[in-house]
Symmetry: C2
Subunit: 357 residues, 2 copies
């Protein structure tokens, strides 16, 4: 099955909204699982990996929740396909480098994705827009329960689920949310927030996971501990922290509007000016400028724009999505021209920053 | 007489055009003269300076070419007035710091301005838009001849006119033109041009004379030698060099358009985007962005704009002109907001970069 016939359009994806999505871009829970009696992928011979992958793929394909879904070996995907899946956060950058012996499964609505033979035999995640941690936990918990009825997972009475990396041991859970925090960045409160969140035992990272930059003022908050706490407790604890961060971000935006009105309008107005008039723009600058317009839009500064429209622009400005949209292969420089053309087209009807009367 | 009742409006000033004004902003000739039997201003006591200033002012006021003009002591001008005169290039920054014992005269059409007791007793200049070196030379030569009939200038048979600084000795002439060279800057050919022009015995400086930065891609080319060559020879020699620079700048713009089309449109488009949408902008950024739009306009990229409109924007974006326009005193930060408001207003009807069909 062609991946692109399967995948939702960027518009469908962007129009799928969730609670608090002016700050929370998406919520995600992933579980790490391994098969009993099979060597972990990192230590397995290729034949072992292929065997495990086939075994898992067959069982995943048989799940009711995966009906109408997409199950493929990584070897059947092109580099561009993989990069596109990374940009949608369906697979990790590491998994994108995998080939035969590794696989991918996506549920029909794309809310569940399963990496087969990444670091662990199974990395299954559920992702939904906005703040919906309980929902994604319930979704992935159901998948896990149903799979466990079909496969024997490596489990230790005292340690819980065994994983390739000890940081995942126990529940194998990673609960995370992607947050859009331009207000806290502009107010220079972001480091304070990161410190506080880290002290509470959570990790904060950039857009594409560990060690990546916070492009577009986007931060990923996730749990650190996977041992000694139940999954629901972890989800509940991190949900509370997220609600606090949302409040801080809202306050930062309101404080900017009240105390640094013109500075705020200047940031947002210039972002529009550049996006609507540049003829060459790279993805990094695009992300940072769209980020500012997104904040402005959520504050009513572009009455004819929606967050969905900007989120779609953000997605199609990413290298692989842009490349796919253009159809042909383009070098980075050409892409920067096409990206600028696309942005100008999409923003042509927008009048610039509107101040509330 | 109130200086502002006398001065032409910025619009009148900008609408006064000249040949080759897509590259040459203005042409200027100034002559340095000193009175015989009076100590040079730098060595004179205050009473001597006041006496010389009054003597000169009376004779200048009596000239036919200065009828309806403006003659005042520097002590009657406010700091803002002086800064405004600097921005129009009627007086030097050094002269703006002068007070009682120094003076200023402007002809009715502002094409002739005379600084009294700057470095020399008399610094008289004529300035006209575009490339008009012969015209400004003839104008100031007439003023000089008429003044010499009324005042005794310090003159040495072998050395010529005596001046405070030996670099002005002889003819006391400085012939200069203000050039807009964004093409050569973007093509990275400007240093080559500066070196060639310097080798030919001319000096190249930034917008406000010696040691100033080339803001807005503006360069001032002037003669170095004042001794051993007649005034008309100097004027002719520098005119030829200027025609060559104009050609190089035109070629640079055409090469950019041909070989780096999108880069050129990107520079110009972004400049418009920023100027039309910023809410805070300082004078330096404004000059550099207007400069790019000016080049674009001269190349037909903004069919509804004129060079005059941009030259006026450039002038009223300068600190003193802006301050005067606003009426009240404003701190630098406030000025940056008012400047942005002004630019947005003036550019509101402009659609952005238009590509030729």
């Amino acid at each position: 099955m062609n991946l692109y016939d399967f995948l939702s359009t960027t518009q469908e994806m962007a129009e799928n909204r969730g609670p608090h999505d002016h700050v929370v871009l998406s919520s995600r829970v992933r579980l790490a699982r391994n098969l009993k009696g099979h060597p972990f992928p990192g230590r397995a011979k290729k034949s072992d990996r292929v065997e495990a992958c086939e075994l898992i793929s067959a069982q995943v394909a048989g799940l009711a929740s995966m009906r109408g879904g997409y199950v493929e070996s990584m070897s059947s995907l092109q580099a561009l396909d993989k990069q596109l899946l990374v940009e949608r956060h369906y697979i990790s950058r590491e998994h994108a480098a995998k080939s035969a012996g590794s696989g991918l499964a996506l549920s029909k609505d794309e809310s569940v994705s399963i990496m087969i033979n990444e670091e662990d035999h199974l990395r299954m995640q559920s992702i939904l827009p906005g703040l919906q941690l309980k929902q994604v936990w319930q979704k992935i918990d159901r998948v896990d329960t149903n799979l466990e009825a079909r496969l024997q997972f490596a489990f230790h009475d005292r340690l819980g689920y065994l994983t390739a990396c000890p940081t995942n041991l126990g529940t194998g859970i990673r609960v995370s949310a992607m947050l859009h925090l331009p207000g806290l960045v502009l107010q220079e409160q972001i480091n304070q927030i990161i410190q506080a969140v880290t002290k509470l035992g959570h990790a904060v990272r950039g857009l594409y996971g560990e060690g990546t930059e916070a492009l577009g003022h986007i931060f990923q908050v996730s749990n650190q501990m996977t041992l000694g706490e139940s999954e629901t407790d972890i989800v509940e604890r991190i949900s509370k922290v997220l609600l606090q961060i949302i409040e801080h971000e809202e306050n930062a935006r309101q404080t900017l509007l009240k105390n640094k009105t013109t500075e705020l309008h200047n940031y947002v107005g210039r972002a529009f000016g550049v996006l609507a008039h540049a003829r060459i723009i790279n993805s990094k600058e695009t992300m940072n400028q769209i980020s500012l317009m997104r904040m402005g839009t959520s504050m009513g500064m572009f009455p004819t724009l929606t967050l969905a429209a900007l989120d779609e622009l953000f997605l199609i400005s990413q290298p692989a999505h842009l490349q796919h949209l253009l159809g042909a292969k383009h070098a980075g420089e050409e892409r920067d021209v096409h990206r600028a053309n696309l942005l100008r087209e999409r923003l042509a009807g927008v009048k610039g920053l509107q101040l509330p009367k």
